[in-house]
């Protein structure tokens, strides 16, 4: 029950301040017709209620999946199997990530369906999956995160020269939305298991950097999608 109350208060705190500012703006400078303004209120109620149920579901059902699979890894032993499982988990979690869906829906409607919602979601998921796999390899081979971050960003800015303008902004945004309410906690919960399997290595900060690497993958993937489109 404690968990329910905490989740409700977290969501209300995250949603309320912006809502109050918008109400203030509505009655000072925006003055939308009342009907349209009420749609905003409907949005506030649905999004808040939705987030509360979703976060509870994540804690009761989804995070345990990550944790349990992570802690089952030691029994497998094989490195390729661990990398493969990390890849699949990265993919299936991104497909369920709310923020990724919202961005993909917006892109779909702004581009009049030219950039298909599902295509974008699967591209982002594939990019994230590959980089979660790489992040696990990084821990195994003890590669400093500096090199991977610098290399990743260099690659991003090189590719950006060859991508049609319409794809550049959404590529960079794709890196920001994978850090929504599901993927990051899930990967961190799973990462604890991975760190336990690969323990013994000097990896005080090996769990760290997973999130950063995971947001490079989607940017690269959408840039490549843009090159294919263009």
């Amino acid at each position: 029950m404690q968990n329910v109350r905490e989740t409700i208060s977290e969501v209300v705190q995250a949603v309320l301040p912006v809502t109050l500012i918008v109400i203030l703006l509505q009655f000072t400078i925006i003055w939308l017709p009342m009907e349209d303004f009420l749609q905003f209120i409907v949005g506030v109620v649905f999004v808040s209620a939705g987030l509360i149920f979703f976060l509870l579901g994540v804690h009761i059902g989804l995070l345990p999946i990550g944790e349990l699979i992570g802690s089952a890894l030691p029994r497998m032993g094989k490195v390729w199997l661990i990398v493969l499982i990390s890849f699949i988990l990265g993919f299936v979690v991104t497909v369920a990530e709310p923020d990724v869906r919202v961005l993909a829906n917006y892109v779909d409607s702004v581009s009049d369906g030219e950039v298909n919602r599902n295509l974008l979601i699967y591209t982002v998921a594939l990019g994230l999956a590959i980089f979660v796999g790489l992040a696990v390899l990084r821990i195994i081979f003890d590669i400093p995160i500096k090199y991977l971050l610098t290399g990743g960003y260099l690659l991003i800015f090189t590719l950006a020269f060859f991508v049609p303008e319409q794809f550049i902004s959404i590529s960079f945004d794709a890196g920001g939305v994978t850090t929504g309410p599901l993927a990051v906690p899930f990967i961190l919960a799973y990462g604890i298991g991975v760190a336990a399997v690969l323990g013994g290595r000097k990896s005080s900060d090996s769990g760290f950097g997973l999130v950063a690497l995971a947001s490079i993958g989607p940017v690269l993937a959408v840039l490549i999608l843009g090159i294919i489109y263009g």
Binding site: I21, F53, V102
Partner: protein, 242 residues
């Protein structure tokens, strides 16, 4: 008065079904082949998945009938005003308040506290982040008004971050780059993004596809640079103490 609440809910439900199927399938396969959890644990997980299903449906429905149309309309109003520059301070305020109560920041606070040995007070981190995100959204609005390509802002942003990284400890670097996610809270991606799309629709010579998107990337940069700045201050203090 004609307020829509459940318009298009069936397609939202279908979307959510397809969003959750891969995760459920993977769990079932893992359960059969190697997890072999007791039945009690499996029913708990199924309950959780059901809650997530309800939650994701309500959330996406709220964005679909609420934030997307209302946010876009508000953006259109703001973008057609005589004093369009007002978008810049409004962006700052929205970014600031979207971050001030963000629960994810508490975890980040705790981590920064650990790596700095308590040198950086919690409120300093919080306000640095709020100002950072406020500045990011203000910059996104300025970019939208002036038509600045996103690469011109994101590239220097990451170059600055990579340079700062050379002068802060590796632990601060890890915390900083992992912090990128804390600022993209639920209101930013859904509502504030929709406002930017609306502004992009009405401004002459702007294409929302190019000029409105990119805001989330700028917001994700703010915590990285904020935490690295604090890391530099900390490194400077360490050196002075030696």
């Amino acid at each position: 008065m004609n307020v829509t609440v459940f318009n298009g809910i069936t397609s939202v439900i279908m979307e959510v079904v397809f969003a959750l199927i891969p995760l459920v399938l993977f769990f079932l396969i893992a359960q059969v082949f190697f997890l072999r959890l007791p039945w009690k644990k499996v029913t708990d997980i199924i309950k959780g998945i059901f809650l997530a299903f309800i939650g994701l449906t309500l959330f996406l429905q709220g964005v679909h009938v609420g934030f997307e149309p209302a946010g876009t309309m508000m953006g259109e109003v703001l973008g057609s005003m005589d004093n369009k520059w007002i978008l810049i301070p409004i962006g700052f305020v929205l970014g600031f308040v979207a971050t001030i109560a963000e629960p994810a920041i508490r975890i980040l606070n705790h981590e920064v506290d650990k790596v700095s040995g308590g040198y950086i007070p919690q409120n300093v981190l919080l306000y640095t982040l709020c100002i950072g995100v406020g500045f990011s959204i203000a910059l996104a609005m300025l970019r939208l008004l002036a038509g600045i390509p996103i690469v011109w802002l994101v590239l220097p942003g990451y170059v600055i971050a990579l340079i700062m990284m050379q002068f802060t400890s590796p632990t601060f670097t890890s915390v900083a780059f992992d912090a990128g996610g804390v600022a993209t809270g639920p209101m930013t991606v859904t509502f504030i993004m929709a406002v930017a799309l609306g502004v992009g629709e009405v401004l002459p010579g702007r294409d929302p596809m190019i000029d409105s998107f990119g805001m989330i990337a700028l917001v994700a940069l703010a915590p990285i640079i904020s935490v690295l700045t604090l890391g530099l201050l900390y490194a400077w203090k360490e050196r002075r103490n030696d």
